[in-house]
């Protein structure tokens, strides 16, 4: 053993004596010095910034202020306009007129004068007279911080406290428009120079900074560093075979394979030294300058050394066979390219072909089975042809498909709000936001019309959920209230023209408002579900669970309100309601069970190791609940036994959605478009809905997937890094929290690249050892 340790130590010394190493260390030092002056500043959140209005809905916000100010009653909007300067007043008036003509947002007029609006509002927020008790008395102030400020003597408040109080009041008055601001806001500093305020709380800011740190490490250590290390170390193994040194080594009482492996380990020292210096440097800077002492970041060191070692194994094998540094470099680069091509083909097929067709929503009524894919394509199962047929196509949907692939965050704004199939399986309904202007309309497809997509009546602008009442009637839940579809959805009202100007939303509509007398305000994150048996409606809105019950006229009345004791009320949530049980599945992966009889949390689970859920549904009867996670796993909860377990299906890990087709049966979408009906008690498959594989699917299954499986995946070890940092097995687009659990997340599958790369590396090193043992030098 002593001999092999000596070889490893010698390789370390060799690395240390390399001039290139010292040049790289100097370059790394310069890079670290470059990021060293960066830091952050935390200050109280006051005033308004452009990103403070949800989804950029500034024109609607301006219009709302103006419209409400025109009413006679005292209101915050009226008060704001009263306090506003002349520029702001003029701007608001102009915007309201354009809004009526539906011209706002169609051109850049609004944005050209936007600074006037923002500046005027910020001027107002600085004024002590912004708060007047009678103006704000009807505004529901939920924030403890705001209540505390309001309880203090107004005259004793500092200017900063006044601005903060005013900001909180504004948020309370316009909850559907304004983002809830954190108490303090973060900004970046560089050499003491401060950036604009960032839309993050400290925890989010830390997460973002850690993410940037990880990106810097990924690019510099994980890409450039590895490339340089491959070139620098390419000569080490071939050099070992120089006649005058290899013969001497072999004359010693050592195993030639172990000598090679010791040399290989020693060669990795080069990467280790550089990566350790850089990663520890970044870690210290994040610690000292940002107060982020995240030990997980240091896991990147063994990870990227491992990535290098995979390439180095290939280089070493080439070195053993050809004993030429140039050949080593060429083979390593070819291998790098091969890994990239195989990975790109696989992820390309996965992303653009497989994901397109993967079902993420299932609807079943009578004999009609319909599914909606990840990119919003609706398909109908043709029992005769035994295949899925695309139906319900529209131009908006086609535009969305491309958008969902390349800009999923933006596309969220335009996604249809749920799909409802009526009880007879004859009519499909959805609410579609249209380009431009974000006007919402009902979209209807009927079996008799071969499910063609037809534009129906206008829908509430801020529609959030489309649900189905037990009798099959669709119910639209919006931040403005509840609307029930009681007429023909295709019966569009004719716009009334006044002096040549079309006035929309006039005349009769098939929707009837059924909201309770005391309106339920829905602020994000929100969720809604209907109890299939009782018709009760459960609404979740930022930590508050409200249960409503329909009366004999189908108007909903508030039955009870439960304030949930949550650590983080900002996280997205999915909701299911069955029997007297409400199941809430949160973004952090935990599932809470509430019993409406006791109004208490009865149980709490973390079924999928903190991974976010995607979909939740209660079975009729309320005995079974299913939660499908973004990892492709499904968890079943038995309400009667108050127990939950990962469902024992062979397809666990490949499930994309499900729906209960009866009290004891459910349909599960697996591996793309395959749907199986399972018996909930026996877990036996009762029926299958799967088309024969096409050529594309066969190529993917029998060619691309096997090659991808056996091929190493060093490039995908970034996913392992991501998993180390977040602890999550899935990743949202650009690592953003989109406030919605249904948004597609990439499955990280963090351990597959580790295992496949490790096995590949061992095989390559094994071949090299075998070659050395058999070769005569």
């Amino acid at each position: 053993m002593r001999a092999y340790v000596a070889i490893i130590r010698d390789s370390f010394q060799e690395a240390l004596s390399s001039r290139v190493l010292w040049i790289l260390l100097v370059v790394i030092t310069l890079l670290l010095l470059l990021i060293l002056p960066s830091g952050y500043k935390e200050s109280v959140t006051v005033g308004l910034r452009q990103h403070d209005v949800k989804r950029g809905r500034w024109p609607e916000f301006a219009s709302k202020i103006q419209q409400e100010s025109e009413a006679d009653a005292v209101s915050p909007s009226r008060h704001l306009v009263a306090l506003a300067n002349e520029d702001l007043k003029a701007f608001l008036k102009k915007t309201a007129v354009q809004e009526k003509k539906a011209e706002v947002g169609k051109d850049m007029k609004f944005w050209r004068e936007f600074d006037k609006f923002l500046g005027g509002l910020n001027e107002l927020l600085e004024k002590p007279e912004f708060y007047r008790a009678d103006v704000w008395e009807n505004v529901i102030v939920r924030s403890d911080e705001a209540r505390e400020l309001l309880e203090l003597d107004a005259n004793s408040l500092s200017a900063e406290q006044v601005q903060r109080r005013n900001r909180l009041l504004l948020e309370a008055a316009y909850p559907e428009m304004l983002q809830v601001s954190p108490q303090t806001a973060m900004s970046l500093t560089y050499f003491g120079k401060e950036s604009d305020r960032l839309p993050f709380r400290k925890a989010q800011f830390d997460a973002q900074v850690t993410h940037w740190g990880e990106l810097v490490i990924r690019w510099i250590a994980g890409t450039i560093g590895i490339f340089v290390a491959i070139i620098v170390t390419a000569g080490m193994i071939p050099q070992m075979f120089d006649a005058g040194s290899w013969s001497l080594l072999l004359s010693k009482p050592v195993s030639r394979s172990v000598v090679f492996l010791a040399k290989f380990i020693g060669g990795s020292a080069f990467m280790l030294l550089n990566a350790a210096y850089f990663i520890c440097g970044v870690w210290f800077i994040l610690g000292f300058r940002f107060g982020i002492w995240d030990g997980k970041l240091l896991l990147m060191l063994p990870l990227y050394v491992f990535v290098f070692v995979i390439y180095y194994a290939v280089s070493a094998l080439a070195g053993v066979i050809w004993r030429s540094p140039i050949v080593c470099v060429i083979i390593s680069i070819v291998f790098w390219a091969a890994c990239f091509v195989v990975g790109a083909i696989h992820s390309g097929v996965e992303r653009f072909v497989y994901k397109n067709s993967r079902l993420t929503s299932l609807m079943f009524s009578q004999d009609t089975l319909m599914g909606v894919s990840e990119v919003g394509v609706v398909s109908h199962w043709d029992e005769d042809a035994q295949e899925w047929k695309q139906v319900f196509r529209s131009s908006t949907q086609e535009q969305l498909q491309a958008m969902l692939m390349f800009a999923p965050a933006e596309a969220q704004r335009f996604l249809p709000i749920g799909y409802v199939l009526d009880k007879q399986g004859e009519q499909l309904l959805t609410v579609q936001r249209n380009f431009p202007g974000l006007r919402s309309t009902l979209r209807v497809g009927r079996k008799a019309d071969n499910w063609s997509n037809q534009e129906g009546a206008g829908a509430p602008m801020y529609a959030k959920f489309l649900l189905r009442e037990p009798d099959g009637t669709p119910l639209i839940v919006s931040s403005a209230g509840l609307d029930r579809l009681e007429g023909d959805p295709l019966a569009k009202s004719k716009p009334v023209k006044v002096l040549g100007v079309s006035l929309p939303l006039t005349g009769s509509r098939p929707l009837r408002s059924v909201q309770p007398g005391e309106p339920v305000v829905l602020t994000d994150p929100a969720a809604a579900a209907i109890n299939e048996d009782t018709g009760q409606l459960a609404l979740y809105s930022r930590g508050t669970l409200t249960v409503l019950e329909p009366d004999e006229k189908h108007n909903y009345q508030k039955q009870r309100e439960i304030q949930l004791d949550l650590e983080d009320a900002d996280q997205a949530v999915a909701l299911a309601f069955g029997g007297t049980t409400v199941l809430l599945a949160f973004e952090d992966g935990h599932v809470s069970v509430y019993d409406l009889k006791t109004a208490k949390e009865e149980n709490s689970f973390n079924p999928d190791r903190g991974n976010p859920p995607r979909f939740i549904q209660a079975a009729p009867g309320g005995k079974w609940f299913a939660v499908v996670f973004h990892t492709g796993r499904m968890w079943l909860y038995d309400a009667a036994a108050n127990e939950g377990a990962m469902a024992s299906f062979a397809s666990q890990g490949a499930i994309s959605t499900m729906t209960f087709s009866g009290n004891e049966t459910m349909l599960v979408a697996e591996r793309g478009t395959r749907v199986k009906e399972y018996n909930l008690d026996t877990r036996a498959v009762q029926k299958q809905f799967a088309a024969e594989k096409g050529i594309g699917e066969m190529i993917y299954d029998y060619a691309v997937t096997p090659i991808y499986t056996v091929f190493p995946k060093p490039g995908e070890l970034d996913r392992t890094a991501q998993y180390f940092l977040t602890g999550k097995e899935t990743e949202s687009f650009e690592n953003m929290s989109l406030g919605s659990l249904t948004v597609a997340r990439d499955k990280l599958d963090p351990w597959t690249p580790v295992w496949s790369s490790l096995i590949f590396m061992l095989v390559v090193l094994g071949i090299a050892c075998l070659y050395i043992e058999r070769q005569e030098f």
């Binding site: 001999a3 000596a6 004359s251 005569e776």
Partner: protein, 328 residues
């Protein structure tokens, strides 16, 4: 002469019998090349043994087989009583390869430390033995210098030091004086003699026949993979010559001398001055020399000097190689 020995002496430092090595090249149509053919000889312990042969004779292959670097094709070979290839035996063996390349990032002490550890020594042993050894090979004042600053001769000295560090019983030296100046060569010869006195066995592989002749007890000559001769210098010489040469300086006229030596086989004559001639004659033994002297004295010629010429290793080597080449 153990040239055709059928038995192997287990106590010998090196013993090979009927050793064959065939190299194969190419993947499909594999070319065969016989590097060693039925080589058999033994090197007793405590001997300095020289292996000679022209380039491509199979000398390096033989050493590599002994050290386990190359596998033998057939035959048997033992080193220090153990079959060749035995890893544990290599602890007792030192090796100085031809064209030695030492890690250039190390200094002399660092290199000794590395190779000492590879030979199973601990740091304390290496420290204790390293410095005196570097003094012995004349590198004491350059121990801290990087190897890359060393001349070829200095590297060769360091190579010799590493081969001796673990106090081996058997030493393989491949061109040990390569790159050394005459003083250095003399020092190496002294070291080799001292090692012999300590009872070590030294296997020398060199092209410098005079050097080998000066230090080796016995020799083996390899040619085209076959062993041509093994033994002491006299034994080898006797195989190449059946008659010895005698050089005689005579006072007398050229005509008288020629007449007196009519019965002798004169191969060369040189007129040194008037009435003074040096001749070289080939004679089979003492009888021929006595007859020659009697004939000269009988004719009244005076003998100034008589030298019995001794055969050199180079003569024997060239004779063997020449004969073989002509035959082939």
């Amino acid at each position: 002469m153990e040239f055709s020995s059928d038995t192997m002496d287990e106590s010998a430092a090196i013993a090979v019998q009927d050793l064959y090595k065939t190299y194969r090249d190419g993947l499909i149509f594999r070319k065969r090349f016989e590097a060693l053919k039925s080589v058999s000889f033994q090197v007793p312990r405590g001997e300095i043994f020289g292996l000679l042969g022209p380039n491509g004779a199979g000398k390096t292959t033989f050493v590599k087989i002994m050290l386990g670097i190359v596998r033998k094709t057939s035959g048997s070979a033992t080193m220090l009583g153990q079959p060749v290839g035995d890893r544990a035996t290599r602890v007792r063996v030192g090796y100085l390869p031809e064209h030695l390349r030492l890690p250039s990032h190390l200094n002399a002490l660092g290199a000794l430390k590395l190779y000492g550890k590879l030979s199973g020594m601990d740091s304390r042993e290496i420290r204790e033995k390293g410095m005196p050894l570097l003094e012995t090979v004349g590198l004491a004042d350059r121990v801290r210098d990087s190897v890359k600053k060393y001349s070829k001769g200095m590297r060769q000295r360091l190579g010799l030091a590493q081969s001796l560090l673990h106090d081996p019983e058997l030493l393989f030296l491949d061109e040990p004086t390569d790159g050394l100046d005459p003083v250095g060569r003399s020092e190496v010869r002294n070291i080799i003699h001292r090692l012999k006195d300590e009872g070590k066995t030294i296997f020398l592989n060199s092209h410098l026949l005079q050097e080998v002749e000066m230090v080796c007890d016995r020799f083996a000559i390899l040619h085209q993979g076959e062993l041509r001769s093994v033994g002491t210098l006299d034994q080898i010489s006797s195989t190449t010559r059946d008659r010895s040469e005698v050089e005689i300086e005579i006072l007398g006229t050229d005509t008288a001398i020629k007449a007196a030596l009519e019965t002798c086989e004169v191969v060369a004559s040189e007129m040194l001055s008037e009435n003074r001639v040096r001749i070289v004659a080939q004679m089979s033994g003492q009888k021929d020399i006595d007859a020659c002297i009697d004939a000269l004295r009988a004719d009244g010629l005076s003998i100034v000097s008589l030298v019995h010429r001794r055969a050199t290793l180079e003569d024997a080597f060239l004779k063997i190689i020449e004969t073989e080449t002509k035959v082939s």
